[in-house]
């Protein structure tokens, strides 16, 4: 049978069997990755070199605890996604191509952190990029998907070019292809080379991690991809950008000057605030989650920058806290963001809706999905009992405990970044309350939302795995203590020499006074809530029997679903407060009756929120590129002789240069 057209629903096929195969393969790969990563973290590093696979350099893998933690995280996410995708692909009647590509994508994701040499790294990176592009395009019949795919392709390839240049320069200067040799020669590099490599990699990896201003592909591609793929991209692929920054800039190039850490902090803070701002006004559920990814990667980058800055200004203990915060937040983000996208996917497959303004009332129709998304949202909002709480607490501690005697840079950077992180947390709470409260509570706003059905068992199983991970991060980060300590040991330049924070039942910070215990806090909170419930039962015997009545409609008979607040109206105050940054274009047109100017026939209110950075930053670039293309086209007049002349000229130039 011929390969089916991508994405199209193809009736005569046992989609179920194929979905089970692809999902199972994905999960197996993930499980293998998880096991391998853990074994490396707690055992010895693994080396693998396959000479014949690639001419000249060969392929070499070299897995140490730092890579291991990324491999393990990717593997864990893939397990959940694989289980989930069995049911999802069956429901969505996936075509064959995405089913085949999904495991390949996971393989690429697992290979990147394991790569031991520049060549291998670039190859795995390209594998990851290409497969993810195919997956993003799997529903290519929709225009939105096609435009998003094109945008994603261009951005990711540009990023790849930057990384390619940087690594080639590094390999040339480092006198070798494998990271080990480069690390050996790293101290001898000139500061010029270091700076060039740092800037190039910052561009390349930053665009992959969705940092401002190179984030623009992320809120387009992640929502348009099928939800399991969105989960993989948002929870595993963006991590690779962070991995690159840690591996190349912070580990190989060693301790950089002050301004490296400062640059990372600035970009991180900008990305965090901007991303959360966009998330808090977004009305598309998956786009909201995608912007929240930008936000969280920004937080991680800020923590990395803080770690670099602190260690370069002689505070290894605090730097270790910042580094732990970065890694812990990375992992917890992987947990709650994958859960969030999977839950959003089950909503999408049950209602065909992503627009929060049309959703609502899912709590009664999809209780399990509602609870699971609630766990994810709680984690994303960084509140106690949430997965993100411990890591954000560590981040705050590292920021407020920086040494502030006679160091102007720290004295300026730390308070401002505390303000930025705090604003991010606050707006993040608002965004998640909107996503959960408007999307899942209250009454359905459309018939489609009213007709929602609970997701099948396999999808629920996949989500439950992610939810379990979230719970671990929320109440027992103690379980991750050893892992993080091993990884921290790998990074001597980031305070790895100093003793990292002790993630016991009670998190204690050595060197600085500070302690918290998520687990005990959760237990105490439960007890307190029970106490409150008990208080509310006081003098029950005097009460008339409880009843259930209609909602109070201010005397009117019934409240229509359209009288509810929507996501747009919920975010309106925030949009108004941050008017100068968001630049919404709203227009109100009032049509009067022909009879009189004083009688209003109807009022239409329309508001549109475009990504302002995209508006200001990308449009001119695109215009410039187009002009350049026009110029180039002039050189192509189709005459073969002319082309031959070009070739000859180039050869001459090359010869002259090479001489």
């Amino acid at each position: 049978m011929l390969p089916a057209p991508v994405g199209g629903p193809v009736p005569e096929r046992h989609v179920g069997a194929e979905a089970a195969l692809s999902g199972g393969l994905t999960s197996l790969l993930g499980a293998a990755g998880l096991a391998l990563g853990l074994s490396v973290i707690f055992g010895d590093p693994r080396h693998l070199r396959i000479g014949w696979l690639l001419p000249l350099v060969g392929v070499s893998f070299d897995l140490d605890p730092l890579g291991g933690v990324f491999v393990a995280a990717t593997g864990a996410v893939s397990v959940a996604v694989g289980v989930y995708s069995v049911g999802y692909a069956k429901r969505g009647r996936w075509a064959r191509l995405p089913m085949v590509t999904l495991p390949l994508f996971v393989a690429g994701l697992l290979l990147v952190p394991a790569a031991g040499s520049v060549t291998t790294f670039l190859l795995s990176w390209e594998l990851m990029a290409a497969t993810s592009l195919v997956l993003v395009l799997s529903e290519h019949r929709r225009d939105a998907v096609r435009s998003a795919g094109a945008f994603y392709a261009v951005m990711t390839q540009l990023g790849f070019v930057a990384i390619l240049l940087a690594l080639v320069i590094l390999a040339a200067a480092g006198g070798g292809d494998t990271f080990a040799t480069i690390a050996a020669h790293a101290p001898g590099l000139t500061s010029g080379t270091r700076t060039t490599v740092f800037l190039l990699t910052l561009v390349g990896f930053g665009s992959k991690a969705g940092l401002l201003p190179l984030h623009a592909w992320l809120p387009k591609a992640h929502p348009e991809a099928p939800s399991p793929v969105s989960a993989l991209m948002s929870a595993a692929m963006v991590n690779m950008g962070i991995y690159g920054i840690i591996r190349i800039d912070l580990q190989l190039l060693g301790p950089g000057p002050h301004w490296w850490g400062l640059t990372l902090m600035i970009f991180g803070a900008l990305s965090a605030v901007f991303g959360v701002l966009q998330a808090s006004v977004a009305t598309d559920l998956k786009q909201l989650l995608a912007y929240s990814t930008t936000e969280n990667m920004g937080l991680v980058t800020l923590a990395l920058g803080a770690a670099a800055l602190l260690s370069s200004s002689g505070a290894p203990a605090v730097a270790a806290i910042a580094m732990t915060a970065a890694l812990l937040h990375l992992l917890s983000h992987a947990a709650f963001k994958s859960l969030g996208f999977l839950a959003a996917g089950s909503v999408l497959s049950a209602t065909g809706l992503r627009d929060l303004d049309k959703l609502g009332g899912l709590a009664r129709r999809m209780p399990a999905t509602t609870v699971l998304f609630g766990i994810a949202a709680l984690g994303a909002s960084g509140l106690p009992l949430g997965a993100g709480f411990a890591s954000e607490w560590l981040l705050f501690q590292s920021l407020i405990h920086s040494p502030h005697d006679s160091n102007t840079v720290l004295a300026l950077a730390m308070p401002l970044s505390v303000g930025a992180v705090a604003l991010t947390t606050g707006l993040g709470i608002a965004a998640m309350v909107k996503a959960f409260g408007v999307g899942f509570l209250a009454r359905p706003r459309t018939a489609a939302a009213g007709a929602a059905r609970e997701a099948p068992a396999s999808m629920l199983a996949g989500m439950s795995l992610a939810a379990a991970a979230c719970t671990v991060f929320a109440v027992a980060p103690v379980l991750l203590g050893p892992t993080l300590r091993h990884v921290l040991g790998e990074l001597p330049t980031l305070g790895g020499s100093a003793e990292g924070p002790a993630l016991g039942t009670i998190l204690r910070l050595p060197g600085v006074a500070g302690s918290i215990s998520p687990g005990l806090l959760a237990a105490a909170l439960v007890i307190a809530i029970l106490l409150a419930v008990g208080i509310a039962r006081w003098s029950t015997r005097h009460r008339p029997p409880a009843t259930e009545t209609a909602l109070w409609a201010c005397g009117a008979d019934a409240l229509g679903p359209r009288m509810q607040y929507t996501a747009t109206s919920f975010a309106e105050p925030l949009q108004r407060v941050f008017d100068d940054i968001l630049r919404p274009d709203t227009d109100v047109e009032i049509t009067h009756f022909a009879e009189s100017q004083y009688l209003v026939e109807k009022v239409t209110y329309r508001t549109r929120l475009d990504d302002p950075v995209e508006q200001r930053f990308y449009t001119p670039v695109v215009r410039a590129v187009r002009m350049w293309a026009q110029l180039v086209r002039r050189a192509h007049n189709g005459s073969i002789h002319l082309y031959l002349t070009y070739g000859a000229l180039w050869m001459l130039i090359v010869l002259l240069v090479a001489k």
Binding site: H542, A550, W552, G555, A556
Partner: protein
């Protein structure tokens, strides 16, 4: 600073409270001295509204007897109905009463609410409040003065 001076000059402007009248209606929940009211204008001429506003003003200060006007019938113990019930306000009045949690009272303020007043047998009216919902306390007068309203409230709050 002129504010402080004014406050000192004015001092206490509230009318002296008479002795508490005997409790005719037992307080709904058995807790004396607390009565939240939801006011419903079921077709009044706003005369009674003015007097009710006066009753809660600093001069008469119904709050010192534990009475308070609230925004939502869910928070209320009693419905304070004024005016004759018009056809359009009949259902809203019923809805409001049903929204009030048990045990609850209905206080009809003004002649129109008690017996229809000048609007009796008007083409647009259903009748006095008593024809639509059971009334526990009547406050006659067109409009009743704030002291009358307060006296009626005190018979319920028992303060």
């Amino acid at each position: 600073m002129s504010w402080l001076a004014k406050i000192r000059r004015v001092g206490r402007m509230v009318e002296p409270a008479g002795e508490a009248p005997e409790v005719t209606v037992a307080p709904p929940t058995g807790v004396t001295g607390s009565l939240q009211l939801r006011h419903v204008d079921s077709g009044s001429c706003n005369g009674c509204e003015l007097e009710i506003a006066g009753a809660f003003s600093p001069v008469y200060d119904a709050e010192r007897f534990g009475a308070r006007l609230v925004a939502s019938p869910r928070h209320a113990d009693a419905v304070l109905a004024t005016g004759v019930v018009t056809h359009n306000m009949r259902q809203p009045l019923l809805n409001t009463l049903n929204a009030v949690p048990e045990p609850r009272l209905v206080i009809a303020v003004g002649d129109c609410a008690c017996n229809g007043g000048v609007f009796t047998k008007g083409y647009g009216v259903v009748g006095p409040v008593g024809d639509v919902i059971p009334v526990d306390v009547h406050v006659p007068g067109c409009p009743p003065t704030p002291p009358q309203i307060i006296a009626a409230l005190r018979t319920v709050t028992g303060r």
